[in-house]
Structures are given as structure tokens and as C-alpha cells.
């Protein structure tokens, strides 16, 4: 087993606070260190998940957080994989721990976001697919979410009411989470009354962009035992797979899919392959899960994740939702944290925040959101430009 221990988890509440990402990240880091019972000077390595929106300090997030906490000589690493940055940071920390390069590693991600649509980097950059999709098509992120949603409606008979149910479910969980940005229950009527952003998705179907920060203290199992954590939450798998050519599913920021003229697509599309790799590494499957945290950039996308992480077959996501299986109190709650619906997206922090929620659930300290007897959970996420992200944690 290549398990590592999660001995500290900490977050800065999500919101629109208007401060530097550094302050959210260091607050989360201090919370995680306190949770672990370690001093900052006990940390041998810092891995920062980068943000592209906050200038140079964001590109070197590992060093930025290390400096803000007070240089103490630790190894620093900074990684970027869009929405999957946090999983890559966790994966990097795990590799260092398992290789014996560091005893205890601090993983931090934080962001400070502008209002409105995410936009590409500036300038005239016709070689950048992310720039091109805005220049040629005006294709915002919600436009892609809407294309997937409409496709589900045509293929599986999903309805806007199904999508609204996802929001209602996640808002109910988020209302119980003091770290969430939106903490009010939402009704289906409120979703239906919100403005259409990209047909068929409405404002309340689409996640906001938020400020926030999340951090973990990770270490080997021996180190955990020696530092007062005899039975820690364990990370059993970290999947950071990339797609397989030809990639037949349209994805941000691409203007077209790969052609299948030379080669048939792999039997499992990219998103499904992310979870499969995690399950294979963990030696468990969807039937072993107590809960899941998935990347609900839109309500409709959460239903796709149900299918992609193997909770049900293709096209059965809406049924699982209607059954109540995935709500708090259901047989397999999804997004017990409230998900992106309640948090909004703070890109480099988000995959780390997903693991914070798993940690609290597996410890049995999730309060009103607690899944009784939680033993295993998965997080799933995907970063644009082909970045898979899934973590399996157990207790």
C-alpha cells in the first residue's frame, strides 16, 4: 500500500472578500497546521497550487506561501493544472513523502477572483486555444457547460427541472457548511426564475467564481503515529491522468474534438478514465464509497459525474438524483460540502477543499453534514487542457 496520512485540513471561508490570495492561503495553512498539531517549522516541503489571476506570486504559489508563513528553508514546489491544480499538488506531495524526500508536506491552494466570466490571458495570442475560443466564438465556460446540458436533454431526457434539483440538493448541504459562500437553501422555483446565461442553463445552474483557500498537511503513516495521529484519514489513490487520443468528447477550451479517422476512441471517455484510474490504484470501487465530492461547475455536469465515477450507468444520473440517493441522508451522498453550487470556484483551492471535506467526513467531524459511518470517499475533478483529478481517501 502506498497510503499517506492526512493529519491536517484547513480552509479559509469562500466568499468575495477582496483580499490577496496569499492571505486566504496562509489562513488555510495555519488552520491545517493547527489541526495537525504541528509547527510551521516542522514542515519539510510546501507544494503550492498556482493561480493565473494574481500575477507572479500566483505562478510561484509554493514560494509565495512559504515566504508569507516565514522562510524556514523548506523545499518549495509550485504546480499548475487549471481546476486540477490541487490534485497535482497533493500528488506531488505524496510522491515526495513516498520517496522519503520529506516527512511532512504542506499543500496549499488559494485564489482571488474577479467578477464575471473567467477570461483568457491578455494580448494577441492566436496560438493559444483558450484565447481563440473567446476571439472566434465568444465561447465562455458556461457555454460549454450548456452544450453538455443540452446534449443530456436530447440524449437522456434530462430536464431543466432535474438540473434545478441538483442546485436545491447542494444548497441544502451548503447551508450546513460554515465555510461555504452561499449558505441559504434554494428552491427549484428560484432556479427557474434566475436569468438564462447560456440556454438551457440559468444563473443558479452555474457556479460562481470565488475567493478562498484550502490546505492539507500530509505525511507518512509512521510520522503520523509519532505525532499523535494513530488512525489518520489515509489517501489511498491520487489520479492525475490525461486523455487518450482520439479524445472524442468536446472539452474546454477546444474548438473541435479529435478526429476518429485513424483510431477508435478508447472505451472509456476521459472523465470516466479519471475515476477508473483512482479506483484501480485504491483497490476499491464505487460500491465501497460512503460519499463523493464532484466538480459541479454546472448542475447538469454533476449528473455526468455520477455516471463518470461509476455510481450509475450512462444516462441514469438524473434518476439517481430524483431517487434521493445522492442527497444528504441518501445511500450515497454527493457534494456533502455543498459543492461548487455553494462555494463557487476558487480554482487552485478547489480540489484541495474537496479532500478537506472527505477528511472531515471520514473523521466523523462534519457536524450537521456528517455521513454516518463514512469509511471511503472519492473526489473527482477535471482541469481544462486535459488534466484529470481524483483522490480516494479511506479511514
Amino acid at each position: 500500500m502506498n497510503d499517506i496520512a492526512v493529519i491536517g485540513a484547513g480552509m479559509h471561508p469562500w466568499g468575495k472578500w477582496g483580499r490577496s490570495f496569499v492571505s486566504y492561503g496562509t489562513a488555510a495553512a495555519r488552520a491545517a497546521l493547527a489541526d495537525a498539531g504541528l509547527d510551521w517549522t516542522d514542515i519539510g516541503s510546501v507544494v503550492g497550487a498556482d493561480t493565473m489571476r494574481c500575477g507572479y506570486p500566483g505562478y510561484v504559489a509554493g514560494a509565495t506561501f512559504a515566504q508569507a508563513l516565514g522562510w524556514q528553508g523548506a523545499r518549495v514546489t509550485s504546480v499548475y493544472a487549471a481546476c486540477a491544480s490541487g490534485a497535482q499538488a497533493i500528488g506531488t506531495a505524496r510522491a515526495q513523502i513516498l520517496a522519503g524526500l520529506a516527512d511532512a508536506v504542506l499543500v496549499v491552494g488559494a485564489d482571488s477572483t474577479p467578477k464575471g466570466f473567467f477570461a483568457p490571458a491578455g494580448g494577441e495570442r492566436p496560438d493559444d486555444p483558450d484565447w481563440l475560443r473567446f476571439r472566434i466564438l465568444g465561447a465562455t465556460n458556461p457555454a460549454y457547460f450548456a452544450l453538455y446540458a443540452r446534449r443530456r436533454m436530447a440524449l437522456y431526457g434530462d430536464t431543466p427541472e432535474d438540473f434545478a434539483r441538483v442546485k436545491v440538493k447542494n444548497a441544502a448541504a451548503g447551508a450546513l457548511n460554515p465555510l461555504a459562500r452561499y449558505r441559504k437553501p434554494v428552491t427549484a422555483e428560484e432556479v427557474a426564475a434566475s436569468a438564462v446565461v447560456a440556454d438551457p442553463l440559468r444563473l443558479l445552474d452555474i457556479c460562481a467564481t470565488s475567493d478562498g483557500g484550502a490546505a492539507l498537511v500530509l505525511c507518512g503513516l509512521d510520522f503520523a503515529r509519532r505525532h499523535g495521529h494513530p488512525d489518520p484519514v489515509r489517501i489511498r489513490a491520487v489520479s492525475t491522468v490525461s486523455p487518450t487520443y482520439p479524445r472524442a468528447a468536446l472539452d474546454l477550451p477546444d474548438i473541435a474534438t479529435d478526429s476518429t479517422t485513424a483510431l477508435d476512441p478508447a472505451p472509456h471517455a476521459f472523465r470516466a478514465s479519471i475515476a477508473r484510474a483512482a479506483y484501480e490504484e485504491a483497490g476499491l470501487g464505487p460500491e465501497d464509497l460512503s460519499l463523493a465530492e464532484v466538480y459541479d461547475l454546472s448542475t447538469a455536469l454533476e449528473l455526468e459525474w455520477y455516471e463518470d465515477i461509476g455510481l450509475c450507468g450512462p444516462g441514469e444520473g438524473a434518476k439517481l438524483l430524483r431517487d434521493g440517493t445522492t442527497r444528504l441522508g441518501g445511500a450515497l451522498p454527493v457534494n456533502t460540502s455543498g459543492g461548487l453550487a455553494s462555494f463557487g470556484e476558487a480554482v487552485p483551492a478547489q480540489a484541495i477543499a474537496q479532500v478537506c471535506e472527505l477528511t472531515w467526513q471520514l473523521r466523523g467531524t462534519a457536524g450537521d453534514r456528517q455521513v454516518p459511518g463514512a469509511r471511503a470517499g472519492i473526489t473527482a475533478n477535471q482541469g481544462l487542457f486535459g488534466h484529470g483529478s481524483a483522490v480516494v481517501a479511506v479511514r
Binding site: F117, A119, G138, A139, A143, A154, A256
Partner: protein, 157 residues
């Protein structure tokens, strides 16, 4: 001074020297493994199991395909999308089109006047030349997807 017509991106579609009916998106095709690329790939084949030794040559994509999905943009997208901030925002329609021969889905804006209510998944559409925006010096040209008129579908049937 007359504005010059210029493609918003070079080499992705046929120019004004061909009649409108002959307008095509332009990709590239690997001579070794038959992989097709759009947007065009001119450096090297990206099929990881391509036997190699081939060349990438320009190839027109199928002019017709079927709607894979569609949406619209009800709010003004950020730059580099060009729009007049003083004019009221006019939503545009975005269509993802499945090309059977190439086995790929290609995005594009719908031709002016095509609304989401005019579209359905599986419907036949064709590629047509279009204008993305105009500025003081240029008319920036692009491709649009347009539903194939019912009578023309029948002709083909």
C-alpha cells in the same frame, strides 16, 4: 477607404476566391495514418500510434454535419471577443456539429438570425462564410453553421 476582408484566423477556411457554395473549413490530414486535424496541425501528427513517416496535407472538411449540441450567449463575453460596449448585447447562437466522415465535433457560431429555438440535436447543418466583426480597417471573416433548408434536405434524400 474600403475595409479589407481578412479571416479571423489564417488558414482555417477557404478564402473569398471560391464561390460561397464551395466554402469549406480546412484541416490537415496525416498521409501515414489518416488522422484529420482541425484546427489544422501543421507540425506533426498527434496520433500516438501513427506509424510515422507521413506528411500533413491540407484537407477540406465535410461541408455538412449534424447538430451535436447548441447553446447561446445571453451575456457579453469578455475580450478578446469583440463587441461594441455601447450597443445593447445581442445574443449569438453557438452550435457543435458532428462531422460523420471526420468523426469529430466542430464548434461554430450559427449564421445570423438562427436562434436556439430553430435548432435540435441531430439536425443537418452546413458551413457557410460569415462575418465575425468589423473595425475601421477590416471585415473579419469566419465560418458559421446554418440549418440546411428543408427543401434542400429533401432533394438529397
Amino acid at each position: 477607404m474600403a475595409r479589407t476582408r481578412r479571416p479571423v484566423v489564417t488558414g482555417w477556411f477557404t478564402d473569398d476566391t471560391v464561390p460561397e457554395g464551395a466554402f469549406r473549413l480546412l484541416g490537415t490530414r496525416c498521409s501515414a495514418c489518416a488522422a484529420v486535424f482541425f484546427p489544422r496541425e501543421d507540425d506533426a501528427c498527434r496520433n500516438p500510434v501513427c506509424p510515422g513517416g507521413g506528411a500533413l496535407g491540407e484537407v477540406p472538411l465535410s461541408p455538412r454535419g449534424r447538430v451535436w449540441s447548441y447553446t447561446d450567449g445571453r451575456y457579453r463575453p469578455p475580450a478578446p471577443y469583440v463587441s461594441d460596449p455601447d450597443a445593447p448585447w445581442e445574443p449569438y447562437t453557438l452550435v457543435a456539429v458532428e462531422l460523420a466522415a471526420e468523426g469529430m465535433v466542430v464548434l461554430g457560431q450559427a449564421a445570423p438570425g438562427v436562434r436556439t429555438s430553430d435548432l435540435r440535436v441531430g439536425q443537418e447543418v452546413e458551413v457557410v462564410p460569415g462575418v465575425l466583426n468589423e473595425d475601421a480597417e477590416h471585415v473579419w471573416t469566419t465560418w458559421h453553421w446554418r440549418p440546411v433548408a428543408p427543401e434542400r434536405t429533401e432533394e438529397r434524400a
